[in-house]
């Protein structure tokens, strides 16, 4: 069976060989993805247009809301714009690295193509999670950064280097939370073939991630903070950038939830792999 620790032969030198091997493999996967995208250039550009439109849609929704109010909880208009930007940034980077791979998993199981990946002498989760790169995600993430900078200017805020580093680290945790949870959902496809609907259902959760946490209370807030931490993934980084952090506890909570999701996701994946029976045999 494959194990998450990469196979290191006994004869390997002291510097772990996987440290050189895996970046090499990943580079090859990147080259493949670039070649694939460039094969359908107009389609590649159109998908960027689609994402830009949906991003604009979210921003216009918020500007319409703020025609009729000055604050939502403690959040002012440009703070929410920054929040939506942060959420879009996280979502797009996540999408660039992981989304296609997560949605493809059920297809790999259904067709039995997972056999070939299991046989490769690399960690299976690595190859399944990172096989394709969606380059459009990086273009859209850049746009999100632009919107965030514009919002910061409107807020007359200057951010310190420490804030930016903190922001990026927290975004990384947010991305890992999205990835862990969606990969866990995708693992359900080992049990039922029609898991693609479930995976797309997760998409609805992105809608919550971009909403100001102040708006929520009660059970809803508890569930989406402590069970599915959607209200943390982009709210905490946005609060760091805008000096709105209530206590450092929020940062710790996000990091803890991230670690928790990753562990659960790995356990779920291992359990699911045991359940795998090839489709073709």
């Amino acid at each position: 069976m494959n194990s998450p620790e990469s196979p290191i032969p006994h004869s390997a030198p002291r510097t772990p060989r996987w440290l050189r091997r895996y970046p090499g493999i990943y580079l090859a996967l990147w080259k493949n993805s670039v070649a694939r995208e460039m094969g359908f250039k107009s389609n590649f550009l159109l998908w960027i247009v689609v994402e830009v439109l949906w991003f604009g849609l979210q921003l216009s929704f918020i500007s319409v809301l703020y025609l009729h109010t000055d604050t939502i909880g403690t959040w002012t208009k440009w703070e929410v714009v920054l929040l939506i930007g942060a959420s879009h940034f996280i979502q797009q980077i996540y999408q660039a690295f992981f989304l296609i791979n997560c949605t493809n998993l059920s297809e790999l199981v259904r067709t039995g193509k997972l056999d070939f990946l299991l046989l490769l002498p690399v960690n299976t989760r690595f190859i399944v999670s990172l096989r394709q790169v969606d380059l459009g995600g990086f273009v859209n993430a850049t746009l999100a950064v632009g919107v965030m900078i514009y919002a910061l200017i409107q807020l007359h805020l200057t951010v310190t280097l420490l804030q930016i580093i903190g922001f990026l680290m927290l975004c990384l945790s947010g991305i890992l939370i999205h990835y862990s949870l969606m990969f866990l959902l995708a693992s359900i496809s080992f049990w039922t073939v029609r898991a693609q609907g479930i995976v797309w259902g997760y998409y609805n959760l992105f809608n919550i991630a971009r909403m100001p946490d102040d708006a929520f209370r009660g059970v809803f807030k508890a569930v989406f903070t402590f069970a599915i931490p959607m209200l943390l993934v982009s709210n905490v980084p946005a609060r760091v950038l805008t000096d709105k952090l209530r206590s450092p506890g929020q940062i710790l909570l996000l990091l803890a939830m991230c670690a928790f999701c990753m562990v659960i996701s790995e356990l779920g994946w291992r359990q699911s792999l045991k359940h795998y029976t090839s489709a073709s045999s």
Binding site: F40, N43, L46, W47, V49, V50, L53, W54, L57, S60, F61, V64, L65, L67, H68, T69, D70, T71, I72, G73, R194, G197, I198, G201, Y202, N204, L205, N207, I208, M211, P212, D214, A215, F216, R217, F220
Partner: protein, 268 residues
């Protein structure tokens, strides 16, 4: 006529296979809906109690989103456009050219049956959801308005279907139609009132939107139900909506006939 009853029957059975998918879709769909309602509550709670936002009370605003969800269950095109595009791409439509079946009517029957099953699956979770929010749900002002609402919903369904059908016809010319479908969907989502009632927009913008078919794909029937469009404006609106339905029907027919010419040239 009888053969189309068979189509509906087959469509119902096919769609029953997707019932779990439908259930997931509707339940997951409640999450953003609930989030939006919470967002509005936070806005109302930041104001002195009893204050209206753009002439909507909190109950009216909540009802608006619930009605949008109901109309969406009744009329949304779920998979039809992808399936039509796939039929064209994979050459499945060849068989319809040989049989005495009209493809558009065939698809309309399938659309109808999928809505029927979707409604049946959605009824329980939607009913529970409405029950929890019953204090915020407003009943229609008078039976006449409710009748007009129903008529308008039927036209909304037809308009949604014909537009999607016409969009799917792009598959005759381009390899990948999903981007085009998503681009149109983005405009529809914003301009038809999925995200917010259109009359909270600045008046000029709302007026401009009324020159497009988008408000008639969602906002218009809901505004009739809520008594925000009444009298002459309502009658006039119903006629405009009917005109959009007829126009979209002809565009759908026209796109098909042009596409078929291209199709036979390639596939022949």
């Amino acid at each position: 006529m009888k053969k189309y009853w068979h189509v509906i029957n087959i469509g119902i059975q096919n769609n029953l296979a997707y019932r779990v998918n439908f259930l997931f879709r509707i339940v997951f769909g409640f999450i953003p809906l609930l989030a939006t309602i919470y967002l509005w509550r936070a806005i109302y709670s930041g104001k002195p109690s009893g204050t209206d936002v753009a002439a909507y009370s909190l109950a009216q605003m909540t009802s608006y989103y619930l009605l949008v969800t109901i109309v969406d269950v009744l009329t949304a095109v779920s998979e039809d456009d992808w399936q039509i595009a796939a039929d064209i791409k994979d050459g499945n439509i060849s068989q319809f050219l040989l049989k005495p079946i009209d493809y558009l009517t065939y698809r309309l029957c399938l659309y109808f049956s999928s809505r029927l099953i979707y409604l049946a699956v959605a009824a329980v979770p939607l009913g529970l959801f409405l029950f929890f929010l019953r204090h915020y749900f407003i009943w229609p002002a008078d039976p006449a308005a409710f009748g007009c609402f129903l008529a308008s919903v039927v036209m909304t369904g037809l308009l949604q279907f014909f537009t999607s059908y016409a969009m799917a016809m792009l598959a005759f010319w381009v390899l990948e139609v999903s981007t085009f479908i998503f681009i149109l969907f983005a405009f529809e989502y914003l301009a038809s009132g999925h995200l917010f009632p259109l009359d909270i927009l600045p008046h000029a913008m709302e007026k401009v939107l009324y020159y497009t078919p988008f408000p008639y794909q969602m906002y218009f029937p809901v505004s009739i139900y809520m008594g925000r469009t009444t009298g002459n404006a309502m009658i006039q609106g119903l006629f405009v909506q009917a005109a959009w339905v007829v126009l979209s029907y002809f565009i759908a027919r026209f796109a098909w006939s042009r596409g078929i010419k291209k199709y036979s040239a390639v596939g022949g």
